[in-house]
Subunit: 493 residues, 2 copies
């Protein structure tokens, strides 16, 4: 989920100065347009302590006309508030038509703080998130625009910021605020709690935007761009509810998670030959134990054409007893499958207790090929992220172990493999015109893949990205990851 | 909630024969239209044991072309099912495009049975209902039509049916089915559990239809009519998501809950003068105790113009210390109120702990005057029932005592009062042209009021209908009801 918000940023002051002026003007104009169109807006500013929540709120007030901005924190409840239903304070703070409410953490602060303090059970937390979803749905149905910003820092960046603050002495000022909010909690627990909160509340009606805040300038531009595109979208949507969904990352630079995968990783044939039997034996034993304990496993593979999914799958299947595993090759849906909800064809193959299903391509086709090729309309694929997260939540809740792989290769490596395939009579059947066409569309695919990682790499079902240029390396990585996940799950119960 | 489904039915065999043939033909044709339009449909047939669930399912198969109907019960889970996520069995049973799934109790059976057996906590039950709402929303977003039928019997009718079954000996056959379902539970607990389930899952996407099943013929016709209008609606909606919402009661006869209020009830002046001070003293004491214990109260009044709401309210307020109560007269919204979600103006006045707010007219304006006068569009008022139930759930959860009154008078009595008002100089200000106009629209209001009772008279916030032709009677009834509700609440904690 946070992958793209943790990438290293390389953005200069010059670039910032060049971009900022124009964007500020645009933002200011958008605010006027929202006002004259009487669209109310809420910006929830949340994030890791030290990522600059306060700074962003102050900047928002500087960049826009602060006269119709309402800034609100929801720290300690007043007695007026504790004596009324919980959501009363939020209702009282709602901006009117054409106004903008800038809310520090908003309605997320209280339930997350409670969870951090160990005061709410998992099921209680889920229910609170549900109530928030219902509130946000009620407000957006009434025409409100809600943009939720999560200003993110990786663990290392967070440490650096905190050190710097201590040195420069601004720490004291921040402390006085942070005592009132989640600022006291440890980085890891905040990250964990919000990963869950974001997963449960990242809806089509009110998306979360994860802002890489390692670099202040980069962060500022990302925030402005995100706001502008959402405001534009709300203006377009008047009288036409099918406006295009807003991309989860609106950054100064197109930064792809996949671009940061180290593709030089490799194994020699000798290393491979030594490691493979070791891991295969381990996997064999682990799946047998899982079988006897009734723990089922779903492993899915997505990746570029010719990335080596099939090869990796064969190394897994040959390690598992054939009676307890099944591989599902996902291609065009059958007539019967087409006649149902797109998730139906995957529900069909959810394994019984103890069994293993391996999906060669999966339900993610909805937000990859179906999105890029237009087989699903914008409305369909943009609500699919939520549907997929709900589906995976149900798998997780019922005890299914879910492992998701993206096998990555470079464009050059793909070209080489395509040509090899054409040259080999044995492999020629594997390459079709479609593969070449898909290759031409790689920028569109890259965007779809990035969105997919951001929206569906969740706390309960994270993606594992495998560097695939070296087949030996990737096959071992895959089987190693499966073994590790199984071992952890078997330890649990 | 069940009020309209418990009214006495007067429907002859001749009427049935005259209506049935045409409706069957229509239903059959609709089924063909759905099929050719590739719309999948689920009919959930649920209800009080003895109300004829099995009979209806069999009739549906007779009335329609049973070749594309899939009948399913969800009784004991097979081992295939228990070994997979809970919803797997429902996914596997989903009808394809153009098919109709007729599900006995559907996904409601298991959670309700669990609740009846005392095996789920309130919060767990709410969460299960939430999961169902998400499932139904996912399916309807994909184009499925879901119609949920609740075949209802009042306690007395239920007893009669059971007695008759015993006599005729069909009991044994039913027993064998009912052992597998909720049939064994007591009437009252089933009614209570489903009142909650229906409240939490009666959404705009998948409404519940409460079918009066006292008379088999009447029930059959209601079911057919409900199905036809929903199917018609689904066909109209293709490519145009704003089709008209379907009325909650589609019955052979227009039966209004209000028509069954006994308006002859009255009190003499002497009785009134004796009772009023007694109840006012009681109310005074009760509100003081509630104040000291921090229990707040919201009382709302709706009713026909000149029904005597104001008079009843004054008898209450004069009994409560002025420092702890407030009356809110709800008229046209202010500019500031118009600028917010329609519920905002009511949230404003939610009392602090211990205080009392009395609303003279309320948030129900959304589904009454705003619906009838077209101030709210169909989309807005039809989603308001859900929003109101959610709002009232939040009040209830936070411990607010909510009492809802509809003060009813006959058309004749209203006319008399209007004329009296015009004749009296002191009261003339109370009557305007608008009152006369509203009177002309009484059929539209009657329909809206009936829908309102059905959709918002819930287990946690039931409506109390007051017979208002006798002012003495109605004032005493109102204050008595408030005293009783307060007493019960004070007993609780």
């Amino acid at each position: 989920m946070f992958e793209s918000a943790e990438l290293d940023v390389d953005y200069t002051k010059e670039q910032y100065t060049a971009e900022l002026a124009g964007l500020r003007l645009q933002l200011f104009k958008m605010q006027q347009d929202l006002k004259s169109s009487k669209i109310p807006m809420i910006i929830i500013v949340d994030g890791v302590p030290g990522a600059g929540r306060g700074e962003i709120v102050n900047l928002l007030n500087e960049w826009m006309d602060s006269r119709n901005i309402i800034n609100r924190t929801f720290w300690t409840e007043t007695s007026e508030e504790t004596e009324r239903p919980e959501f009363w304070r939020y209702w009282m703070a709602l901006p009117g038509k054409g106004e903008i409410g800038v809310f520090f953490s908003g309605w997320y602060e209280k339930p997350v703080m409670k969870a951090l303090a160990g005061k709410s059970k998992d099921s209680g937390f889920e229910q609170q998130m549900n109530e928030i979803v219902r509130l946000e749905r009620m407000l957006t149905a009434d025409g409100m625009l809600i943009v939720k910003l999560w200003l993110h820092l990786s663990g290392d960046s967070h440490k650096k910021v905190m050190k710097k603050r201590k040195k420069t002495g601004v720490n004291k000022e921040h402390k006085s605020f942070e005592n009132k909010s989640i600022g006291k909690a440890a980085y890891e627990s905040i990250r964990k709690a919000y990963a869950k909160a974001i997963r449960l509340t990242d809806t089509k009606e009110a998306h979360w935007y994860l802002i890489n805040s390692q670099d202040n300038r980069y962060r500022n531009i990302s925030v402005i761009k995100t706001l502008i595109s959402n405001m534009q979208n709300a203006l377009d949507k008047r009288g036409n509810s099918a406006a295009a969904p807003v991309n989860p990352v609106t950054s100064p630079q197109s930064m792809l998670i996949l671009d940061n995968v180290d593709l030089t990783l490799e194994l020699t044939k000798k290393e491979y030959s030594a490691e493979l039997p070791k891991y295969q034996a381990e996997l064999h034993a682990l799946t047998l134990e899982a079988f006897s304990r009734g723990i089922s496993t779903v492993i899915l593979f997505e990746g570029w054409d010719a990335a080596g999914k099939g090869g990796a799958i064969r190394r897994i299947t040959s390690a598992i007893d054939a009676r307890m595993r099944r591989t599902i090759q996902v291609a065009a849906p059958t007539d019967e499958e087409k006649s149902h909800h797109y998730l139906w064809r995957f529900w069909r193959y959810i394994p019984r207790a103890g069994y293993v299903t391996i999906f060669d391509r999966s339900w993610y086709g909805r937000v990859l090929v179906e999105r890029v090729e237009g087989f699903a309309c914008a409305d369909e694929w943009s609500r699919a992220y939520e549907e997929i997260n709900e589906f995976e939540r149900q798998l997780e809740n019922s005890g299914v172990l879910l492992i998701k792989f993206w096998v990555h290769i470079s464009q050059e490596e793909q070209l080489k493999r395509f040509k090899d395939r054409e040259a080999s009579e044995l492999k020629r059947y594997k390459i079709t015109d479609e593969d070449w066409r898909n290759r031409d569309k790689s920028p569109l695919y890259n965007e779809a893949i990035n969105d997919m990682f951001i929206r569906t790499s969740t706390d309960i079902a994270p993606w594992t990205i495998i560097a695939g240029n070296s087949k030996y390396y990737s096959r071992i990585e895959v089987i190693k990851t499966v073994c590790k996940a199984l071992k952890e799950r078997l330890k649990k119960k």
